[in-house]
Structures are given as structure tokens and as C-alpha cells.
């Protein structure tokens, strides 16, 4: 078992475990921290897949910005474990079952193609390098790039309109 | 050109009426409009103006649908009936006044436009269009000016017929995609060759729509309530004209489009119709409200017609043709009488009436004549039709004729029962107050009486008129 494989399995375990902890832990703050762990694990995967740029962005944007935002909000509402009363048990179970069966269906659908077992993922290649990405981003993908500014604008306006105190 | 006029005059006239606020003027105006329509129709008939009986204009080329109107024998007859009935309706209900008369008369005329359109349309989509258009004004008329249960009752009627017509629309669409030149025109729809299996379900899609409109047992339950609740002027339109839409649709669309299915299912249809005749007659004997009585008797008569349409022999078809007209005239006469009674005595309950013959002999005589026409006494118009239809039914199957014949007896029973309860016997407090009918009402009833006898004694012209339709239908069955 090569080093990459070990790494791979470790990251998988980390991601799944973190995700589960995030979902289950009572205290929102813990959930946030667990989610951060998951993001790190995923970034690890990116690196394994030789997509360094995304790995970095993932850390910065998600773990860095978004999660901090979450933390701020939670702190601001100073929520802690106990102020989430128990949800209706049946709905909980139903939810868990539904999620599980979704998983099952996916797996069942996917595992019927044996050939995919053989389908390898190339760990190398420079598709993920910033140089390549940058080039395509500003040539082929210039329209979405520009248009996403509109998205941000609207988000910004929205945040202001909604969040502005007073009125 | 006449074809177009028959629709345009009432349509435009009706729209104008909405702006004639003053009651008497609204009445006068709408009456004039209906007279103009009648004039146009009569001129065409007298001139034998064949050319004027069809009209075609571009409408929706992309849908392969054009604004095509065409009068064959049956539709000419029915257009004439429509244009004849409207002036009579207006004149006979002259005395009764309605809230916001302008919209009432406007809607009446719009309904006329719609009905005439149904009789004229020679294009599948256009036909469906008018089919619904005739319905909408009537819906508003009934729900606004009707009796106290009007809203619910009319609504039931509307949805009932609407479902039917939508099913027909699906069938029509399917037919459209079967046509060679992707067109809704009658000719290309006729030309479609369908497999037996296709025909059999398309047949039912169409038949339900028409059966609800006619109405054929067991699709009839909306009818007595609606007739009872809606203002009599509207009831006249409903039972004298709209009912014919269903029958006419069978003649022009159902039979020519699906001859094989029509033959395949003739026993079901005729069976239902014959059951309906007896069933409705028996119910008619139970009614106390005259309107309901007439409603059921009308179901019985329609049953005979719808049966006769499917017997697939000339006698039956011709009988049905002439009866289309006769039934319209007779039932109209019935409603007029009821309208007059109700306006005078404020009730339609036979149990509350009685002895009118002393107060209103004129009314009595006219009613007796109409009622006798209703029971198809010889030398009245209905006799010709019923004789031929029963003969056709007999040719088709002796037993249907025998069973259906019972309705002849039953009709005598309930009609005479009505005459006696309403007109004979001694007058009571309520009826002692009444007065006989004035000359306007007499005149409008006189027209009907004349029509009854003229057609009853000399039906030849009608036969000549409708021969082409009959031969067409018999042709497709060959």
C-alpha cells in the first residue's frame, strides 16, 4: 500500500468522521469546527488529486472566510448546546433513514458497472495548476467570471437591505 | 355572406346592447337585432341562396384551422330555428323585467351568436370555440338572474359540460394529427381513415361531450335543476336551442367521423336513449313544478331523437331532422306558457294552480295545442318526426320501438295531468286574480301554433332541405 493510498484512506476517514460529528454534535460551535476539519480533509484530497489551486482556495474561502462568518453569527447569538430542544424523534429517524437510503440508491446505481472499478483517476497532470486555470478562466470563462459580479452585487445589496438595522 | 351575418349581427348587436342602459331601449334594440337576423335568414331561404350558406376566411393558418362556416340542410334548419326563436323569446318575455337589463339582453344575443356558430362551423377548432362560447353567456345568465339555488346548480351544469367538451377537444386534437394535410377543416377530418380501435375510444371522447349537452340518460341530472333555476327566457334558449347543439354535433361530427364505432356501439347508445325515454317519462309524472315536468319530458323526447340518429336508416334520420325543428318550436311554446303563468300567478307548482281555463281561456287553448303537439298528435309537427323516428327505430329493432312506444302513452298521461291540474277544476284564491294574455303574447304563441300545424300538415319543404345531410350520413355508413 503506497503512501498515497494511506493518505487517501486517512483523509476519507477524516472527512466522513468529521462530517458525522458535524451533523451529530449538540453544540453549534463544535459543528463548525468539525466542518472546518472536513474542509481540510477535502483540501487534502484536492492536493492528492493535484489540484493545488482549488485546495488553497478551499482553505481560504471556506475554512477561512465562510466558516469564520458562521462562527461570528453563532457567537453573536451566543447559542450553546442546550438551547436546541429535542426534535421530534420520528422525523429524526425518518431523516436519517432517508439520507441513508439516498446513499444506498446511489451506491446501488453505481456499483453495477464493474468497468468503473478499473477506471483509474490520474493523480498527476497539470490541469489543476493555476497557470492553466487562469488562462481558461480569462479566455473561455470570461462571461461567467464577469457575470458572477452581478451575483455578488445582488448578494451585497441583499445583505445590506436585510441586515441594515433601524427600519 | 348570410352565414357570416347570422353570427356577426347578434355578436355586434349584443356587444352594443351592453351600453344601452335604459331598459325599454335595451329590449327594443335586442328585439330589433334578433329580427334583423331572422330577416337575413329568411331572405336566404326564400332566395335559395346556396352561395350565401358558406363562408371561409383565414384564421389560424399555423394550426391548420380556418374560419370556415357552412350550412348543410340540418344546419340551415337549425339556424332558421335559432333566428326564429329569438324574436319570439324576446317578445314573449317582454313584460318580465330583469335587473341590469342591458347585460341580460347583451348576453342573450351573445349566446345566440355562439349557438349559431356551432351550427355553422365547418372547422373542428372553430366548432369547439363556438361550443364553449355558447356556454359562457348562458352560465352568467343563469347564475345572475336565476332562482335561489342558481349558483350551485348552474355551476354544476357548467363544469359538467366543460369536462365533456374538454374531452372532445382531446379527441379533436388527436384527429387533427391524423389528418393528411394537418388541418381542422371538416373535409380533411372526414377524410381521416382510423383503425377500429382508435375509432372506438375517440367515439366515446366525443360522445360524452355531446351526451352531456343533449342530455342522454344517465348524463341528464344537471338538466332539470338548471331548467328549474334559470330564468325562463334562458330556459327557452337552453332547451329549444342548446340541446340541439348536442344532437347537431352528432349529425355533423360524430357519425361522419366514426361510422364504424357508431355501428359498433349503436346498441349501447340506443339502449341508453330508450331507457332515458321511459325513465324520464316516469319521472315527469312525479313532478309538481311545471318546469321540471317539461324538463323531463324534453329529456324523453331527446332520447328518441338520439336513438333515431343511430338507427342508420333514412326514416329515422329524416324523422330526427324534422324533430330537431319541431321539438325546438314546441318546447319553446311550452316555456312561453309557463313564463306567462308564472308571471301572472307567481308560482309554477301545479298543486297551487288550477282553474285557469276560466280566467285565461286564450292561454288555455294555446297551451292545449302546444301540449298536444308535445304528445305528438297527428297533424302537429311532432307527429311527423316521431312517426318516422319510431319507424326507423322499428326497422333497427322491433323491441326498442315497442318499449320506446310506451313513452307515447306516458307522455299523454303526464301532459294531460298537467293540463288538468293547471287549467281545469275550480279556481282558487291564487288563480282567481289572473287575467288572460295580451295580444303580444298571443301573437308570439300564434307564430308557434302556426308553425306547429304548417309543418304537421305539409312537412315536405323540410324534408327537401335536409335530404343532403341524410344522404351524407347514410353515405358514410355504406
Amino acid at each position: 500500500m503506497s503512501i498515497t493510498e494511506i493518505l487517501f484512506w486517512f483523509l476519507c476517514a477524516l472527512a466522513l468522521g468529521g462530517a458525522l460529528m458535524m451533523v451529530t454534535s449538540k453544540n453549534p460551535v463544535y459543528s463548525v469546527l468539525w466542518l472546518v476539519v472536513v474542509f481540510f480533509a477535502i483540501s487534502g484530497h484536492y492536493i492528492l488529486l493535484n489540484a493545488q489551486f482549488l485546495a488553497v482556495v478551499n482553505i481560504i474561502v471556506y475554512a477561512g472566510a465562510i466558516m469564520v462568518l458562521f462562527l461570528f453569527v453563532i457567537m453573536l447569538m451566543n447559542m450553546n448546546a442546550d438551547n436546541e430542544p429535542q426534535k421530534n424523534k420520528w422525523l429524526k429517524i425518518a431523516g436519517a433513514v432517508a439520507g441513508g437510503s439516498l446513499m444506498l440508491v446511489f451506491v446501488a446505481a453505481l456499483r453495477q458497472t464493474e468497468t468503473l472499478q478499473a477506471q483509474q483517476v490520474n493523480m498527476g497532470g497539470e490541469a489543476g495548476l493555476i497557470k492553466v486555470l487562469g488562462k481558461t478562466l480569462f479566455t473561455d470563462y470570461v462571461l461567467p467570471f464577469e457575470i458572477s459580479s452581478v451575483l455578488f452585487l445582488s448578494a451585497m445589496v441583499g445583505a445590506v437591505v436585510i441586515g441594515k438595522k433601524g427600519d | 355572406m348570410t352565414a357570416l351575418l347570422l353570427i356577426l349581427v347578434p355578436l355586434i348587436g349584443g356587444l352594443v346592447t351592453f351600453f344601452v342602459k335604459q331598459e325599454s331601449q335595451a329590449k327594443l334594440w335586442s328585439f330589433v337585432v334578433s329580427l334583423v337576423t331572422l330577416a337575413a335568414m329568411s331572405v336566404n331561404l326564400l332566395m335559395h341562396d346556396e352561395a350565401g350558406r358558406s363562408f371561409t376566411a383565414e384564421w389560424l393558418p399555423m394550426l391548420g384551422s380556418s374560419f370556415a362556416l357552412q350550412m348543410d340542410g340540418a344546419s340551415t334548419l337549425l339556424c332558421f330555428l335559432t333566428s326564429l326563436c329569438y324574436p319570439i323569446i324576446f317578445s314573449s318575455t317582454w313584460k318580465s323585467s330583469y335587473a341590469s337589463p342591458n347585460s341580460f339582453y347583451g348576453l342573450m344575443l351573445l349566446a345566440q351568436a355562439g349557438i349559431t356558430g356551432v351550427f355553422l362551423a365547418a372547422d373542428g377548432l372553430l366548432f369547439y370555440f363556438f361550443w364553449e362560447l355558447a356556454l359562457i353567456p348562458v352560465y352568467f345568465l343563469c347564475s345572475k338572474w336565476g332562482g335561489e339555488k342558481r349558483i350551485a346548480v348552474t355551476f354544476k351544469f357548467f363544469i359538467y359540460t366543460f369536462i365533456g367538451s374538454l374531452l372532445m377537444l382531446v379527441g379533436l386534437l388527436y384527429m387533427y394529427y391524423q389528418t393528411a394535410d394537418a388541418s381542422f377543416s371538416m373535409q380533411s377530418l372526414y377524410a381521416v381513415k382510423l383503425t377500429g380501435e382508435q375509432q372506438s375510444w375517440l367515439f366515446w371522447l366525443f360522445f360524452v361531450a355531446f351526451a352531456v349537452k343533449m342530455p342522454v340518460f344517465p348524463f341528464h341530472t344537471w338538466q332539470p335543476d338548471t331548467y328549474e333555476q334559470s330564468p325562463t327566457a334562458v330556459t327557452m334558449v337552453l332547451s329549444a336551442l342548446m340541446v340541439k347543439m348536442g344532437l347537431f354535433a352528432v349529425i355533423r361530427w360524430l357519425l361522419p367521423l366514426f361510422p364504424d364505432a357508431a355501428v359498433q356501439y349503436d346498441n349501447i347508445v340506443i339502449g341508453l336513449s330508450v331507457i332515458g325515454m321511459i325513465y324520464a317519462s316516469i319521472l315527469a309524472m312525479q313532478q309538481d313544478d311545471i318546469k321540471r315536468l317539461i324538463a323531463y319530458s324534453s329529456i324523453a323526447h331527446i332520447g328518441l331523437m338520439s336513438a333515431a340518429l343511430f338507427v342508420n336508416n333514412e326514416s329515422g334520420l329524416q324523422g330526427a331532422m324534422i324533430q330537431l325543428f319541431s321539438h325546438g318550436v314546441n318546447v319553446l311554446g311550452m316555456w312561453i306558457v309557463i313564463e306567462l303563468i308564472e308571471r301572472r300567478f307567481g308560482t309554477r307548482k301545479m298543486s297551487e294552480l288550477g282553474g285557469l281555463a276560466q280566467k285565461a281561456p286564450g292561454l288555455t287553448i294555446l297551451l292545449v295545442i302546444v301540449a298536444l303537439a308535445n304528445v305528438a298528435l297527428p297533424l302537429t309537427n311532432a307527429f311527423i318526426g316521431e312517426f318516422l323516428m319510431f319507424n326507423g327505430l322499428f326497422k333497427f329493432n322491433i323491441w326498442y320501438a315497442a318499449v320506446g312506444g310506451l313513452s307515447v302513452i306516458l307522455s299523454a298521461i303526464y301532459s294531460l295531468r298537467m293540463i288538468q291540474k293547471v287549467f281545469y277544476g275550480n279556481e282558487n284564491i291564487l288563480t282567481a286574480t289572473g287575467a288572460d294574455i295580451n295580444w303580444v303574447e298571443k301573437a308570439s304563441l300564434a307564430v308557434i301554433v302556426v308553425a306547429i300545424f304548417v309543418m304537421g300538415v305539409y312537412p315536405k319543404p323540410v324534408f327537401e332541405l335536409t335530404t343532403d345531410t341524410v344522404t351524407l350520413i347514410l353515405g358514410v355508413f355504406k
Partner: protein
Amino acid sequence: MPINYYIILAVALFSIGVAGVLTRRNAIIIFMCIELMLNAVNLLLVAFSKMHYANAVAINPSAIAGTEAQLFVFFIMVVAAAEVSVGLAIIVMMYRNIHSVDVNFLNRLKH
């Protein structure tokens, strides 16, 4: 690595996210679960991009493939960021009004 592993992993994360949305009632946590779902998608996209890259080089060693997937991931992150800002704003507004972020209290509108 076989592509299957990645697919399973991504799907697993996605399903956990869904289960989280279904089981939790704290709006913020639900929102985080949704973020988790998005990340699962990102992972899947990257994996696929490498897969197609592998297919491409198998035919032509000097081929460049799978870039667009990674760019897509980039855009997903962008959108996610925008959504978060708006979403948190809404949640805060909610909190200001009813001093709770419990979605079970959202039942004025029903039937």
C-alpha cells in the same frame, strides 16, 4: 485510485449532508449541512475532471482536459460565498424578530 472510491466518498458526504438537513432543526446547522453537500459536489467534480484527464491522455499524452470542472468548482465556491452572506443575513433578521433560529418555530404559514 479507482474513480469509484471518490464517487462513493462524495456521495457519502452528500448523503450525510442531506441527513443533517433532515435531522437538525437549528437553521445555521442546516445551512452548514448544505455547505457540506456543496463540498461533496466539489470533490466529485475534481475527481471526474481527473478521470477525464486520464481518459484524454490515454489517447493523446499531451492533452489538457478537466480544467473546466475545476473552474466550475471555483464558481461553486463563489456562489456559496454569496449565498452564505445572504443566508446568514436572513437568519440574523429572523433571530432579531423571534430570538430563535429553530426552524420548528416557522409554522405560521401552512395548509
